[in-house]
């Protein structure tokens, strides 16, 4: 098994873990963390799978660079919204259970 | 564009454009609004006159516009179309005059007259539709433009009536649409042509064609108020009298009846429809409606409701005439399309006059009204006799042809239905006439809005229209055999439909 494929498989794992977390976790911070894990998984699959024959491919690498920047923009926005939401309501989650805290 | 293309459009535009301008007018511009209305009505009359002369001479008028590939908006001003167009145009003129008087001083008149013009636009568009698609476009437009008129008063009761009206007509429209698209899928665009066109589909399509027929007739049957699809009509009587007069006695129900005529004669072809066995059920439905409507009318104390049920009954004469296989029945049905319109509008004008002048809404309050309002009551009486079918009124002529047609088609039971209906008509109209003329007048009327001045029992604008239409009831009956009567025109159409 090539290095690329190995990391791609790891990426699958992270993606699914992150996606499930993003759906299930209630706390907004956790959702943001989960979303980032999910994104990292997708990035690993993108580069790893393209390099599964261990030939460096600069195209997906450039795509991932783009993706990382987009991800940080989204993260900052999500945190900004979460903070504004918290400042107004004192809540840290959108679901009903989160209202308890 | 040639003149023959422009004229049908001009007929439509002559009510559409004034309507749109009126919407934008401020409430207080009464003079301008009335002028626009009358200008539209008169110019429409002129255009229709030109068309009539042309069609009688064998000219063909039409206009086509492609909306989608294989789907066209088609206008065709043929003899049948003009029968309905002329009826609506003439009656629109009278009703406009009447409505100006009727609504004097009430709020939201720009809105009222705007939608009123749109309704007439929809009616003439529907009459001149050259294919099922176009017919449907104006059929729905008619629904939409009448709703604001039904709920015009803005009372909760008006809202209820309006919602019932919508529920019925939109559901009917949905059925109609399904049928139309189905047929469209089977054979492409379905133009209205003499003798129909669906027979070309061949025997393997008959089962589908029967279902489509049911969908189409049920769709238009809602507006034609065929039992059991008639429930909206009495409810819609909450509308102001001119609306009931023109729209619910004439335009809307006639649109349904007219649709039946087009579908049977020019989509299926009367002979093909007969061979599929579709006409007998239609005749039975019409017969049931005729009797049922009359029976229900007997028990209504509200004058407008009684008239409404009478409409339910009378409009089905048209469907019945269509379903009688043979030219004589056709002539009767088509002539009745016009005759019923003139008679029923007279009745509604009169009913409106009682309400507006004396505050009388119920049959039981009409005692002695004939002496207070002799002219109105005379008009009412003439129209009522017409409805019963007494010679020499217009109603007599159409009933005569229907009976003849039934005998010619070998459907003797229809004659019995006609007799029953006439007796019932007499049973619910004669008591009214008795009250009007022979009962003593009460000490006071419920709400006497307009005092009598000499022989002018009510406002000018309210009085003239019923008198003219009542005269027309007599004239069309007396001069039915002349070459310019509605009957003669119906004969022309029947000759063309049965030419094949």
């Amino acid at each position: 098994m090539s290095t690329g494929l190995l990391y791609a498989l790891a990426g699958v794992l992270l993606f699914v873990l992150g996606a499930a977390g993003a759906v299930l976790l209630a706390h907004l911070m956790r959702k943001v963390l989960a979303f980032n894990v999910m994104g990292s998984g997708a990035f690993l699959v993108l580069v790893g799978l393209a390099q599964r024959e261990d030939v460096i491919d600069p195209v997906p690498q450039a795509m991932v660079l783009t993706g990382i920047v987009v991800a940080v923009a989204a993260t900052a926005l999500a945190l900004g919204l979460a903070r504004a939401f918290h400042a107004r309501t004192g809540r840290t989650g959108l679901t009903e259970e989160a209202r308890r805290d | 564009m040639t003149v023959n293309e422009v004229l049908p459009l001009a007929v439509i535009a002559s009510s559409l454009l004034p309507g749109l301008i009126i919407f934008a007018l401020p409430e207080r511009r009464i003079g301008l609004r009335s002028a626009l209305n009358l200008l539209g009505a008169v110019s429409k009359l002129v255009f229709v006159g030109l068309l009539l002369a042309g069609v009688a001479a064998g000219e063909e008028y039409g206009f086509r516009h492609t909306v989608l590939p294989g789907v066209e908006l088609v206008f065709k001003a043929d003899a049948l179309a003009l029968l309905f167009v002329t009826l609506s145009t003439v009656l629109w003129l009278f009703t406009t005059v009447y409505a100006i008087g009727y609504l004097e001083g009430s709020p939201h008149r720009s809105r009222f007259f705007g939608f009123f013009s749109l309704c007439v636009t929809a009616t003439v568009g529907l009459a001149m539709a050259g294919n099922l698609f176009t017919f449907f476009v104006f059929y729905e437009l008619l629904t939409l433009s009448t709703f604001p008129l039904v709920v015009h008063r803005g009372t909760p009761q008006a809202m209820r009536g309006g919602m019932v009206y919508l529920a019925y007509t939109l559901a009917g429209g949905a059925l109609l649409l399904t049928g139309i698209v189905w047929l469209h899928g089977l054979m492409g665009q379905v133009d209205f042509v003499h003798g129909g066109s669906v027979a070309a589909l061949g025997p393997q399509a008959t089962a589908q064609l029967k279902v489509v027929f049911l969908l189409l007739i049920a769709g238009v049957g809602v507006k034609a108020a065929i039992v059991p699809l008639h429930g909206w009509l009495p409810q819609a009587m909450v509308a102001p009298a001119p609306v009931s007069a023109l729209l619910h006695a004439v335009a809307v129900v006639k649109a349904g009846a007219f649709g039946i005529v087009r579908i049977v004669y020019e989509v299926y072809g009367v002979e093909y429809a007969q061979s599929l066995g579709l006409l007998l059920p239609l005749a039975i439905a019409a017969a049931i409606t005729i009797v049922w409507g009359s029976v229900r009318a007997l028990f209504q104390d509200d004058l407008k409701k009684r008239l409404a049920y009478s409409t339910v009954s009378q409009v089905s004469y048209i469907a019945l005439g269509v379903a009688l296989f043979g030219p004589v029945g056709t002539i009767g049905g088509l002539a009745h399309l016009v005759h019923q319109g003139i008679m029923k509008i007279t009745l509604f004008f009169a009913a409106g006059n009682y309400a507006e002048t004396l505050g009388v809404h119920k049959v039981s309050e009409l005692d002695g009204a004939g002496r207070r309002m002799p002219l109105t009551s005379a008009a009412f009486s003439i129209a009522a006799f017409g409805m019963i079918g007494v010679a020499p009124t217009a109603g007599y002529v159409s009933k005569w042809y229907l009976g003849e047609g039934a005998l010619a088609a070998g459907m003797d039971w229809v004659v019995a239905v006609l007799w029953t209906s006439s007796l019932l008509n007499a049973a619910y109209f004669l008591p009214i006439l008795y009250r009007l003329w022979f009962r003593p007048r009460p000490a006071a009327w419920p709400h006497e809005h307009i005092p009598a001045r000499g022989w002018r029992e009510t406002g000018w604008l309210l009085l003239a229209p019923p008198l003219i239409t009542a005269a027309a009831v007599l004239i069309t009956g007396l001069f039915a055999e002349t070459s310019w009567s509605p009957l003669a025109w119906a004969k022309l159409i029947a000759a063309r439909e049965y030419l094949q």
Binding site: V47, I68, V69 | -
Partner: protein
Amino acid sequence: MNLAFDLLLILALSWSAWRSLATPDLTRAVVMFIVFGLLMALAWARLGAPDIALAEAAIGAGLTGALLLDALGALQARRGEKKEDA
């Protein structure tokens, strides 16, 4: 040798990701996430992508980490430490 390193790295990645989502303490979760970001940078290096490794370390772990820590402070400042999302 390389394979063993890769496997170890993947294990560490998965573990840190899991902990950052599952650990009850939010502060620790964020720290775990920063660790995860740094490990990702290592993974990128192993995949022959030094550009991404640099960006991941600076942006993925660094800037995101700072943002998260700052937000954590804001979200917990109002009512002190909280433990939730069971």
